[in-house]
């Protein structure tokens, strides 16, 4: 599996986005490859989240193009989406369903899960005991952890994370760093939006400052 991750390359070129009368960014170029992390920072309102949404294909840019494995994403959306996982501002969980129900539905759209995959992932994020209660009774931090478990289970090479540290305690923030490090070592790549500094200590991390 990770063999095909090695030559996966993400490229964005000439991105420009307007919101109403305001230009959020223009002529934005960047690229990541296997084992690389791009940390996108900047003050509030500089368009970090909008940039991530453009990258995912949720928002259409004014100009510019996003390419995955050399292919324009706009033309091969399903292939691109099969290889990315996105953690947004919201955890995207159904409050009435349990963590397991939520995850097994979403992953059911993506791939076959092994028998123990789910349990393993929930244990990794420290939720082994909260799997059967409805998500509405979990704390904000626990919901974040469910979203991280989804990230793991998707087994996608490209992680797109929007403020993953929000609502997490110290141990939780360390968990995010550990998961990202592990993902990068396995040949994956990460596009990270975060106010604070990340704790990934290895080569191949860069920072993009938005203004």
């Amino acid at each position: 599996m990770t063999e095909s991750w090695k030559d996966a390359r993400f490229e964005a070129s000439g991105l420009e986005l307007w919101r109403g009368d305001r230009r959020l960014f223009t002529r934005l170029d960047f690229a990541t490859g296997s084992g690389e992390l791009l940390h996108i920072t900047g003050a509030n309102g500089t368009g970090k989240t909008s940039l991530l949404r453009v990258i995912c294909g949720l928002t259409l840019p004014e100009t510019g193009e996003v390419r995955w494995r050399g292919q324009a994403v706009a033309r091969s959306r399903a292939d691109f989406h099969a290889e990315l996982t996105y953690v947004g501002h919201r955890e995207s969980l159904k409050a009435d369903l349990s963590a397991v129900e939520n995850l097994s539905f979403e992953l059911g759209l993506r791939r076959e899960l092994g028998a123990d995959d789910m349990q393993d992932a929930l244990e990794t994020v420290g939720l082994a005991r909260a799997t059967d209660v409805p998500v509405r009774s979990l704390s904000a931090g626990q919901k974040r952890r469910v979203a991280l478990a989804r990230c793991l289970l998707t087994a996608a090479p490209l992680w797109i994370l929007d403020e993953p540290y929000t609502n997490l305690d110290v141990a939780g923030r360390e968990l995010v760093d550990a998961l990202m490090t592990q993902h990068l070592q396995g040949g994956g790549q990460v596009l990270l939006v975060a106010h604070q500094n990340h704790g990934v200590r290895q080569s191949g991390t860069r920072t993009l400052e938005m203004s």
Binding site: C56, G57, L58, T59, L60, A78, D79, H81, A82, E83, L84, Y86, G88, H89, R90, E91, S92, L93, K94, A95, D96, L97, E101, F105, E106, G108, L109, R110, R111, E112
Partner: protein, 227 residues
């Protein structure tokens, strides 16, 4: 990467939505209750005379069904967009049109099909001739999917808007007028003892048209709304 097939994805979405719907069965039953209540308004507002009610029954049944479907359309996608699960659907490798069609199907099973089943009761209360009941049910069974699909398109267009409420009705009503015309006419003809297969096939044609075009329109609209 091997992605599960379309049928599997459709079924998964359908089952999830039905399961969520049954956890809030009260909410899902709202359009049905509304349908019955609107039909009770007419005898109260006009008169309980059987002749009068029998004469207006086809119109009453169909206008009420139409209004109930408007009410139902409001809730079709709103929850999913608010809690962010729609974003994840839009980012899944499955076609969004397929997933939204599955959602609309689940929605129809919970809000459209009950209207069809309730029709005989309402028809009886309005002194609709007994021979018109099977036709009315058949016509509703053909028309309510169209109403759900059109409602789905318009709901997808308006879902992110703060001022969405009245707007949704304004968008849906002109488009579904043909359904009202053919549906009410089918009931009317059946109570006059006329042959109704022609009208029913027109309703079926509208349903097929909606079924073939609206999933694409829904997906396009949803992507615009999520933008």
């Amino acid at each position: 990467m091997d992605v599960p097939g379309l049928g599997q994805a459709f079924a998964a979405q359908l089952v999830r939505d039905l399961r969520l719907g049954f956890r809030h069965i009260g909410q899902a039953a709202n359009p049905l209750v509304f349908f019955v209540m609107v039909t009770t308004l007419f005898p109260l507002a006009l008169s309980p005379s059987p002749q009068l009610l029998a004469a207006i029954a086809p119109g009453v049944v169909w206008v009420s069904a139409l209004l109930a479907s408007l009410l139902a359309a409001e809730s079709l996608f709103r929850q999913d967009v608010e809690d962010g699960t729609m974003e994840q659907l839009a980012l899944s490798p499955q076609p969004l049109s397929l997933l939204l069609l599955a959602k609309t199907t689940a929605h129809w099973l919970m809000t459209g099909l009950p209207l069809v089943i309730m029709a005989p009761v309402v028809g009886h209360a309005l002194f609709l001739p007994g021979e018109a009941v099977p036709t009315t049910m058949a016509a509703l069974a053909l028309a309510t999917p169209t109403l759900s699909l059109v409602g789905g398109m318009m709901a997808a267009l308006t879902v992110g808007l703060r001022r969405g409420g009245g707007l949704l009705s304004l968008l849906i009503l002109p488009v579904v007028m043909p359904v009202l015309i053919f549906g009410a006419r089918a009931t009317d003809m059946a109570s006059g003892g006329m042959e109704t297969s022609g009208v029913l096939s027109l309703l079926a044609a509208l349903m097929l048209l909606a079924l073939s075009l609206s999933p694409l329109a829904m997906a396009a609209a949803m992507r615009i709304s999520l933008d």
